[in-house]
Symmetry: C2
DNA sequence: CTGTTAGCGCATTCAC
DNA sequence: GTGAATGCGCTAACAG
């Protein structure tokens, strides 16, 4: 026994007792060829029920489970889907304790759907703003050879990423993108969501409804603003002074809040393009003793745990992140399966959740 | 071209242009044997610097990245670590929008450390309370053949899990467990943390310090209670009526709060064994118009995003979850490497973060 | 419907 | 210090 084996044994406290059960053992046990076992495992055709059952019995008896690496090497699929996210903001969210609802919801939707199909989702972080990004992605693709890749904003619209995926022949889904282009696009209707928020506030009697935009790098920001603008026009309420620029982050919303507070006739309601920005507005209101929702209504464009648990809990647009990821996984797996009953350009419904941060206009 | 290939091509929009670069191509390019390339890639010995550089140049030129599946199949390692979590509570946390700070911090610590070593962390959910649990774990082990497994509470103390890991010869780390036993144990000092909370409150003049326990299934709950008890005794403040039972969940803390409020001389401060329970106490206080921290101080035993963002933000014990996971990954990889400068039974420091929910006792 | 053959890309073992 | 042979566990292509 070599050194490493000894060390491993020491750390596991016992010699290997369970030696690997392979397809070979199953074949011997069932008295069939390797290929037949493979067929049964993969639900292939051309196996008589009798043989199938005999093989399945052998599988169960021996406790056989196929080895992913071998399947990948021999066959044409890896049973792996890769979810790509931007490293810097993702890590920052975790590290600074802000949480990362988008990631959590992706895991929820992606992992469960993958599991249903015998797939696994591997979560991969890349440095989007580095020139090494393409290399990092190529390395991950070469190492893992995933059967599909799930892209999230802002990668969604990134041409370099689409290009390398294309060159590698890997199907991919772009979450949160309604643009035409390569890859499956799966999104929600951001404009409609913004309009819904406006309608809700207008119904409560608000005339001065402020809007804090998201980062311009995100197409969704543009859509949200357009939806807001359209709805405000429809109600005859639009005023450019009611729009302040933000970047999804807390600090930018503090700034935006101050801008909006300083105008001639300040808003009695504010729609913030992210959860963090909505929380910033709430914090500012608290600081200035502005009661919410009595003197100021707030709508958040994310329905994160902190948004739900704030005081008061915020009225929010609940984006179907888990649903989009789940659908993406489903579709990518279908492509590998050679089926494709689902078409690209999917739009999933959002939910508008009314909570304590919006109320009748009293001024 | 078969059906599936055509479908994939349609969905990727282009034929494969980048065909796989293997070690073979690199060997040809560098004019050496496969084996030499393998040595260079794995930083093996017995390669002259000249040859090494020639190979590295070829690798860079061709854009070669090793294929994980092939490495695993040919060699003795998978470059995979598996993090095991309980499905039901994990999914519930995501689904109900409560968030899942433990998971987030694990990802932070585990993924980054794995990445540093060319490893990947695969996140796996198992049904701990099902009789299929062992089969699920065996299936995951057989499929992935991870080089190590990271266990979290309450799996940490589960004998069936340790047993199957042992039988598969897979090294593992138990997070949040200070007990002796198989596998590496990495934990924090829960008792000391509870004592620190008591000391903090006692210094603020509190005499009636309540404690809400966590679920008994978790060893940490016992430790926390013991630490509380010890510190209270030390200050001469212990009273069994000040301890109420909880199970980490919101509802249980509402109940516990009512119990504590009903005693002869109710607590002026409460230590809750989880973030959710602390938030429940805060919500109850708000509901009953009990000002925090003026009339009631609150300490949380988790430092989650919602705990930080509440009003007021809660004083909390920050557990080193990312650090524990990172250390676990580091140690497991070292075992595979045949090195082991680190020993089992690691205790990592926690942080006690004072925020707005604790203040001087005024009664 | 079933079995045989070949090979995926790499690390390991042994020659040289 | 380097190269050649062997096989990991499985699926694909073909033969029967």
């Amino acid at each position: 026994m070599n050194n490493r084996a000894a060390l491993e044994e020491r750390h596991t406290g016992a010699p290997r007792t369970r030696q690997t059960v392979t397809i070979k053992h199953v074949a011997a046990e069932a008295g069939v060829s390797l290929q037949t076992v493979s067929r049964v495992i993969n639900n292939g055709p051309n196996v008589t029920p009798v043989v199938r059952e005999r093989v399945q019995a052998a599988v169960a008896k021996l406790g056989y489970f196929p080895n992913l690496a071998a399947r990948r090497l021999g066959g044409s699929r890896s049973y792996l889907l890769m979810a790509l996210n931007d490293r810097e903001p993702t890590v920052a969210g975790w590290r600074e304790g802000r949480g990362n609802d988008w990631i959590d919801q992706m895991l929820l939707g992606g992992m469960l759907t993958c599991a249903e199909h015998g797939y696994r989702m591997i979560f991969e972080l890349v440095d989007s703003h580095s020139d090494k990004m393409v290399d990092q992605i190529q390395a991950a693709l070469s190492a893992l050879r995933p059967d599909g890749v799930i892209l999230t904003p802002p990668h969604t619209e990134n041409a370099a990423i689409a290009d390398i995926l294309l060159r590698n022949g890997v199907p991919f889904a772009r979450l949160g993108s309604r643009t035409e282009g390569e890859g499956l696009s799966i999104a929600m209707n951001d404009a409609l969501a913004a309009a819904t928020a406006v309608d809700h506030l207008a119904e409560l009697g608000h005339k001065r409804i402020g809007f804090i935009t998201g980062s311009r790098d995100y197409l969704a920001s543009i859509d949200r603003l357009a939806g807001y603008r359209g709805a405000m026009d429809r109600h005859g309420l639009f005023d450019p002074a009611l729009v302040a620029e933000g970047d999804f982050g807390y600090a930018s919303a503090v700034q935006a809040f101050e801008t909006l507070s300083a105008i001639q006739s300040p808003p009695t309601a504010i729609i913030a393009s992210s959860g963090e920005m909505a929380l910033a507005v709430l914090a500012m209101a608290r600081k200035l003793d502005i009661p919410v929702p009595e003197a100021l209504s707030i709508v958040s464009f994310d329905d994160t745990p902190t948004v739900r648990m704030s005081a008061p809990p915020l009225t929010a647009i609940h984006q179907p992140i888990a649903g989009m990821t789940s659908l993406a996984a489903e579709m990518l797996i279908q492509i590998k399966d050679g089926r494709s009953d689902l078409s690209s350009g999917q739009i999933l419904p959002f939910e508008f959740v009314v909570r304590g941060s919006t109320g009748p206009c009293r001024s």
